[in-house]
């Protein structure tokens, strides 16, 4: 029935038994109680559940927990260090890049992936890269500004 996996989440190794059909997002939310990663759809369309798997943004609703065995996962809870917000978090705050906050963790994880892959992305490229993450509140203008601002901040530091 169960299968034992070891996943390193935000730097901490977790060994747990999971039902093989358990999605990574449910493993994170329900077994590890890391509820910052949200579920917004059931068709891999909304991007709310985006986390980094071995450094790459992925939809954690489209990965089985057993597929993450031996991998490193980074979630929104792993962004801030020592109470200090990560530049992407600070930028979303300073640019009013969030309203209800539900899409925000996934949006930041995708945004961070964009910055890591292309630190000098133009606004148009940021918009294209965020295409898989839906937000119903902000109209995206301030989200794009936040990612731009975080990229600039990370380039400086």
């Amino acid at each position: 029935m169960g299968q034992t996996i070891t996943v390193t989440v935000n730097g901490t190794a977790h060994t747990a038994e999971v039902d093989p059909r358990t999605l990574l997002v449910h493993f994170l939310r329900e077994q590890l109680t890391l509820t910052g990663t949200h579920i917004g759809c059931d068709t891999s369309t909304c991007g709310c559940c985006t986390v980094h798997l071995d450094g790459e943004p992925v939809l954690s609703c489209s990965v089985l927990a057993v597929q993450a065995d031996g991998c490193a996962v980074r979630t929104v809870e792993g962004l801030a260090e020592g109470g200090e917000l990560h530049p992407i978090q600070q930028a979303f705050h300073e640019n009013h890049g969030l309203q209800c906050g539900f899409c925000t963790p996934g949006m930041m994880m995708t945004g961070l992936g964009v910055i890591e892959q292309n630190p000098n992305a133009a606004d148009e490229e940021i918009r294209e890269a965020l295409e898989g993450n839906l937000c119903r509140c902000t109209g995206y203008q301030n989200i794009v500004a936040a990612v731009r601002s975080a990229a600039d901040q990370m380039a400086r530091s």
Partner: protein, 786 residues
């Protein structure tokens, strides 16, 4: 408009960064699916796969035999006093209120109607169990379109209603027919405001927790209206309202979808009552598409009688509103709001409106951002362009000749409203300037040289906000008042707690309310905490919808702060041994006039009021005040949006190349938050104009049940926007505020469609329906050019 500097704290009018943000950016937000209670089980609903069918049998045995499944409840076994209740009964409309049981009894009337509820150890097992519930259906004929439903011989949604008529609203001014007959010309236009789905990123969800020993029930639910839910649980579940507590955790967007009381909310309470443990239900997205209310779905036939200048001398609207299979909380009132706003920002004295509401085999419609007002604005703004086109006039000029003029305010509309204040020419002027309307011809020529069609479109809107004066809600048959509550409590240390009846779900009330406290009471922004959405804390709150939170709830807060300040004055006079008339308010303390050394800060006075050792005679201890503010009138924000598009003839894609919005929402508390509301609102209007449509097949099947088919715009699909504001304070409240939550959505769709029609006008195109997806536009171009 100059960019306003953002800061980490401040008072009214400043662009203060939100105090809500930190929990959300760190993942510490607590949405309902993040909550777990001891012993909690998980529910999944079995839903109808048919648009209309008779239920001839339900076999739950296989599901109940599955390990991990605790119970399967059906209509026969789920206790309920009554079905879902509708709070809307427009007088004179012959409104019908069909029974809507929590679980279908013997007939299902739309795809997604709940039939059974499976309760199991976890959501995977509950889903497994749901797959094992066998329901026998005899399919029945369906009708999904409002006009078709009201036609002779249509299949009946409810057999007891032989015409599918849900309600009819009729309003006509004296002398209308003569005015129309005497018009120099008439312009006719049919407009379809298609069905769309609110789609907040967080679906609905709730946890019912019925305590067996006391009969107390707590519902944690993702809602905009905790107190409505509480009151209705008492009716539906048959218990004392005083035993019901509704707690709103963080809410991931609402847009009207959560301005309701739903079957599932009652059902999980009853299921918890039966099982003796908490029961959680979290809606899937594809479930949300069929089980949560939809919006719009109105077909309009306009006839405008105009003079040669384009002035409307008489306006007739015959409209069909699709109410869906049942009435949710406010369904019949939504198109009533359309009726009110048919004249828009124009001085139209002669008017005739018939709004025929129909039952169909579809998910119920109800309030979606704008709620009846986008339908009115889209229609009248399309009509303005049709009139301009018919007479060969400029679209802006036709609007100007019809505008209500500044000196006409307060303005009594032909539909019975009194518009508070407005200056429509100024927002139009400013928008045209920012959008370089005058330079458009050159840009069009440049686009044409590149083989692309270019157009520009206007939307000049006014909306009715600040819902609502309670006497008016009663008069239009809404079974709920429109006031709002606030309590301001100063603690012995001088810190403040605000309890508000509003229920933010992204609007940032904790920030804006703290700014109001800082300005009006001198308690610093960071010393203010705001509590909302928990019925245990509030006497009652009506919630957040209809752009009402600031104009009603914010004003309730303002009035409570005034009461606290005046009470503090009496205590200060006593401590300073002077008359209250000798004191002046400095913004944060009471001081003897002209004597800064003889003063008491609000914090000192809060401490003194708590200690109560030296109180003036007849003054109670503690600085605390409560207000129930019932607004004397609605508020009427307005503005002009200008959209410029290019259309690629090869693909039919409508690309927005410039979008300018000049809005006037009266005085502003936080310009950063206001801009955010406008951005988001515009993109929801854009979604309806370009991408979104909730579609039913002729067999009643939902053809857009996921975000793959239902196209919510992404960052790559939308343009940057240019925003500006004018400020015309509302005279209806002491803060001069109006509201901004819905303006963008109300204004945007017409500006975008008008721009696209303008772009293709050279091909002879006179009208386009939404959504203007590439295939539709490509086909229009092919037809026009072949």
């Amino acid at each position: 408009m100059a960019t306003v500097e953002r800061k980490t704290g401040g008072g009214i009018g400043e662009a203060v960064l939100r105090k809500e943000d930190r929990k959300f950016v760190t993942g510490e937000g607590r949405y309902v699916d993040d909550l777990r209670l001891p012993g909690m089980l998980h529910a999944v609903f079995v839903r109808s796969p048919f648009g209309h069918a008779r239920i001839t049998g339900i076999d739950t045995a296989a599901a109940e035999a599955l390990p991990g499944v605790h119970r399967v409840l059906t209509h026969a076994t789920l206790p309920a006093e009554t079905g879902v209740l509708c709070a809307s009964n427009p007088p004179g409309s012959d409104v019908r209120q069909p029974e809507q049981p929590l679980l279908a009894r013997d007939e299902v009337r739309y795809v997604g109607e709940p039939v059974a509820i499976v309760i199991a150890d976890d959501r995977y097992l509950a889903r497994d169990g749901a797959d094992l519930v066998h329901v026998d259906y005899d399919p029945l004929p369906v009708v999904c379109d409002a006009e078709a439903a009201l036609a002779d011989g249509a299949p009946l949604v409810h057999s007891e209603y032989p015409d599918n008529a849900a309600a009819t609203l009729f309003h006509e001014t004296d002398g209308f027919a003569e005015a129309l007959a005497g018009a120099a010309r008439t312009v006719e236009l049919r407009v379809v405001n298609q069905r769309v789905t609110p789609m907040p990123m967080e679906t609905r969800g709730c946890i019912g927790d019925w305590q067996q020993s006391t009969g107390e029930v707590t519902l944690h639910t993702s809602t905009q209206v905790a107190h409505f839910v509480r009151t209705f649980i008492s009716f539906v579940c048959g218990t004392s309202e005083a035993k019901v507590r509704v707690v709103t955790p963080d809410v991931g967007g609402g847009f009207g979808a959560k301005l309701n009381t739903y079957r599932e909310e009652f059902a999980v309470c009853s299921a918890s009552r039966v099982l003796g443990v908490p029961v959680k239900w979290i809606e899937d997205r594809s479930e949300n598409a069929v089980a949560t209310i939809h919006g719009r779905d109105q077909i309009q036939y306009y006839t405008a009688g105009v003079d040669e200048s384009g002035r409307i001398v008489a306006l007739k609207l015959e409209a069909f509103q699709n109410n869906g299979a049942y009435h949710q909380l406010l369904t019949p009132t939504i198109s009533h709001l359309t009726v009110f706003m048919v004249p828009g920002c124009y001085d139209i004295q002669n008017i005739s409106i018939r709004m025929r509401q129909a039952f169909t085999n579809t998910t119920p419609t109800d309030a979606y951002r704008g709620a009846g007002r986008p339908e009115a604005t889209h229609g009248i703004e399309r009509l303005m362009d049709a009139i301009a086109d018919d007479l060969g006039l400029d679209a802006a000029e036709v609007r100007r000749v019809n505008f209500i003029k500044p000196e006409q305010f307060p303005y009594s509309s032909s539909t019975g409203l009194v518009y508070d204040s407005g200056d429509y020419d100024t927002t139009l002027d400013e928008a045209l300037r920012l959008a370089d309307y005058a330079g458009f011809a050159a840009r069009r020529a440049a686009s044409e040289a590149n083989g692309r069609y270019r157009g520009i479109g206007l939307s000049t809107y006014v909306e009715v906000c600040g819902l609502a004066p309670s006497a008016v809600t009663a008069a239009i048959g809404v079974g709920a008042p429109g006031w709002e509550h606030s309590t301001v409590r100063l603690h012995p240390t001088g810190k403040a707690t605000v309890i508000t009846g509003t229920s933010p779900h992204g609007q940032g009330h904790a920030t804006s309310w703290s700014q109001i406290v800082q300005t009006e009471l001198g308690v610093p922004f960071e010393d203010v905490e705001v509590i909302h959405g928990d019925t245990a804390f509030q006497p009652y709150g009506l919630g957040t919808y209809g752009s009402r939170s600031l104009a009603v709830g914010g004003v309730a807060l303002y009035r409570s702060l005034g009461k606290v300040r005046e009470k503090a004055r009496e205590i200060a006079a006593n401590l300073l041994e002077c008359s209250v008339d000798d004191l002046e308010w400095t913004g944060s303390s009471w001081q003897v006039k002209g004597s800064p050394d003889r003063a008491k800060t609000i914090q000192e006075l809060a401490g003194a009021a708590w200690a109560a050792s030296s109180m003036p005679e007849g003054v109670e201890p503690v600085l605390e005040a409560t207000t129930f503010h019932d607004p004397p009138n609605f508020t009427f924000p307005f503005g002009t949006h200008v959209c410029e598009v290019e259309i690629d003839p090869d693909t039919g894609r409508v690309e927005i190349v410039n979008y300018t919005a000049v809005d006037d929402c009266g005085n502003v508390i936080n310009p950063m938050i206001v801009d955010g509301q406008v951005h988001g609102g515009i993109i929801q209007g854009l979604g309806q104009a370009l991408y979104e449509e909730t579609v039913y097949g002729e067999d009643g099947q939902m053809l857009t049940p996921t975000l793959v088919e239902y196209l919510v715009p992404s960052a790559a699909d939308v343009p940057p926007m240019t925003l500006a504001r004018t400020t015309t304070p509302s005279p209806s409240n002491p803060m001069g505020v109006k509201g901004i939550g819905e303006a963008g959505t109300i204004a945007a769709s017409a500006a975008i469609v008008n721009a696209a029609v303008d772009a293709l006008s050279g091909l002879g195109v006179r009208h386009l329906e939404m959504p203007m997806q590439p295939a539709r536009i490509w086909n229009v171009i092919q037809e026009a050019t072949s």
